[in-house]
Amino acid sequence: MVTIKFMCPLCKKIFKGEVPKVSLGEIGSAGFVHNNHVVIVDYDYHGVIRSINAINMCNVIDGDFISCPYCNEPIRIPNDIEGYTELAYVHKDHVAIVYLFDRKHYAIDVVNIVSEQETATQKENPIDSIINKVGLNLASNLLIRRIIFGKSDIDAPKEVLRLINKIVKELDISKNVDLGIDISIAERISYTFFEKFLDKIRKLSKDIALYKLGNLVKLIRKYILLLDHFHREGMNELAEEFINQITNEDLRTFVHQIYSQLSAGEKMQKETQLNFMVNMN
C-alpha cells in the first residue's frame, strides 16, 4: 500500500488515503466518495498524483439503461445530458464512471472506492510565521536560497531556520540538492515574483500553502536547470525563446535574471545527481 495526499478540486480540502501500490510504469486509480461527488485520483508507482478529477454523482431515475461492467448493476444515462461530460455511479465498493462524448457515445470505467481521512488544516502555516518574524523581503530571500537554490548553510535566526527546515521536510522535494548557483546571485535578483507568491499563500492552510509552494519550487528549479543546459550547449536563442514564453511577467523577470547571471559566468554542478533528463543525441 502507498499513502497518497491530494486536494479535492471541489471541497478544496486536503485528504489522504491508503491505496494499493501499482507496478513500476503503471498508473493506478482510486475513487474517494464525498457528499455529492466522487474524486478519482490517478497515481503512479511512487504514489505521485498524476491526475485528480471530481465527478458529480448521478442519481437519475429516467433515461437509457446500461450495465455496470463490474457488478452488472443498472446505470441510467440521463435523457438530457446537457452540461455533463462525465457522471459517477457509486456501487458498494466501486464507482462506475461514464464519460459522455455525446448522447450515443460513451465510455465506462470502473474504479475501486478507498476510504480517506481529511488532514488537519488548523496547523500553523510556517510561511506566515516566517514572514511575521523577518518580513516578506527577507523571508523571500531565505526561502529562495534554501528551497530553490538548495543551499543548506543559510544565515537566519534559530527559530526561522527551524521553520524553514520544517518546510523543506514537508515539501518532500527529494531532489532538492544544491543547484551550485553562486549565492551572491540571490543578492542581485528581484524577489517581486516570489514575494507576491508568498504573500498570496501565507494565509492559506498549511497543507494547501505547502502544496502550492512545492509545485512552484519544482517548476522554478526545472526552469533553472533547463536554462543552464541551454547556456552550456550554446543554445542561447532557444533559452531566450523559452524565457519569453513564460506568461507570468514577474516569474519571467525572475527566471531571466537568474539566466543572465548564469550567462555572466556562474556555472552549475551536480546535474548528474539531479538525474536531469536532458538527453542530446
Binding site: 507496478s23 513500476l24 510504469g25 498508473i27 486509480s29 478519482i40 490517478d42 503512479d44 511512487h46 505521485v48 498524483i49 498524476r50 491526475s51 485528480i52 478529477n53 461530460t85 462525465e86 464512471i97 464519460y99 462524448f101 455525446d102 457515445h105 460513451y106 465510455a107 465506462i108 470505467d109 509545485n215 519544482k218 517548476l219 528549479r221 526545472k222 526552469y223 533547463l226 543546459h229 536563442e237 532557444l238 525563446e241 523559452f242 514564453q245 513564460i246 506568461t247 507570468n248 533528463m277 536532458v278 538527453n279 542530446m280 543525441n281
Partner: protein, 179 residues
C-alpha cells in the same frame, strides 16, 4: 541549421515521456512524472528536431502551455486504457492548440498503451472526426511504449513531417532572398 520544434502534449501518465524514452532505447518502466517541461534534441539529415515533452498535470499545464507556441508539429497523446484522457484531448488540449497554435498546425494523435486498450475504435474514430473539424490532424497512431509497438513508426513520421516542413521553410527563405 533550422531548429524545428515538436511538442508532446496530453494528460499525465498517458506515456508521452515513455514514448520518447522508448525511442531513445531507455527503459520506460522507470519513467518519472515530468516536472514542467523536458527537452530532447535529435539531429536528422542536417537539421535539428527539438522535442518538448510537457507535463500533463493540470497545475503545470496552465503555467507552461504557452510553450507550444511556434511548434511545427504537435503530438497529442492519450491513454487507450483511460477514457478520460481521450475526452480531455477534446475538452482541454484541443482548445489550447487552437488558441495558441491555430487551426493549421500539423497534429498527430497518438493512442498509447495499446497493450492494455479499453476504449473502442468507434469512439476513437468519432472523437478524431470531432477534432478534425477544429485542427489539422494528419495521422492517428496506436502505440505501446512498453511493447515498443509503432514507436519507430511514430518517430519516422515525425522526422518525415519535420523534414518536409524544413524543406518548405528553406524554399520560402530562398524566395524571400531572391525577391
Amino acid at each position: 541549421m533550422n531548429n524545428l520544434k515538436v511538442v508532446f502534449i496530453g494528460d499525465s501518465g498517458v506515456g508521452k515521456t515513455s514514448l520518447i524514452r522508448a525511442f531513445m532505447g531507455y527503459d520506460v518502466k522507470s519513467t518519472d512524472t515530468t516536472i514542467g517541461v523536458d527537452f530532447y534534441s535529435f539531429n536528422r539529415d542536417g537539421y535539428k528536431v527539438v522535442v518538448w515533452d510537457f507535463a500533463g498535470q493540470e497545475w503545470f499545464r496552465d503555467v507552461i502551455i504557452n510553450f507550444i507556441k511556434g511548434a511545427a508539429l504537435i503530438i497529442m497523446v492519450f491513454d487507450l486504457s483511460r477514457p478520460f484522457t481521450l475526452m480531455n484531448l477534446v475538452k482541454n488540449w484541443l482548445n489550447y492548440v487552437v488558441k495558441i497554435s491555430g487551426k493549421h498546425a500539423l497534429v498527430i494523435v497518438v493512442g498509447n498503451k495499446s497493450d492494455i486498450k479499453k476504449i473502442d475504435d468507434e469512439l476513437i474514430e468519432r472523437t478524431l472526426d470531432e477534432m478534425k473539424k477544429k485542427i489539422n490532424v494528419k495521422l492517428y497512431l496506436q502505440t505501446s511504449a512498453l511493447k515498443y509497438k509503432n514507436v519507430s513508426r511514430l518517430f519516422d513520421t515525425i522526422f518525415e513531417y519535420t523534414k518536409m516542413i524544413n524543406t518548405i521553410l528553406r524554399k520560402k527563405k530562398l524566395i524571400e532572398v531572391h525577391t
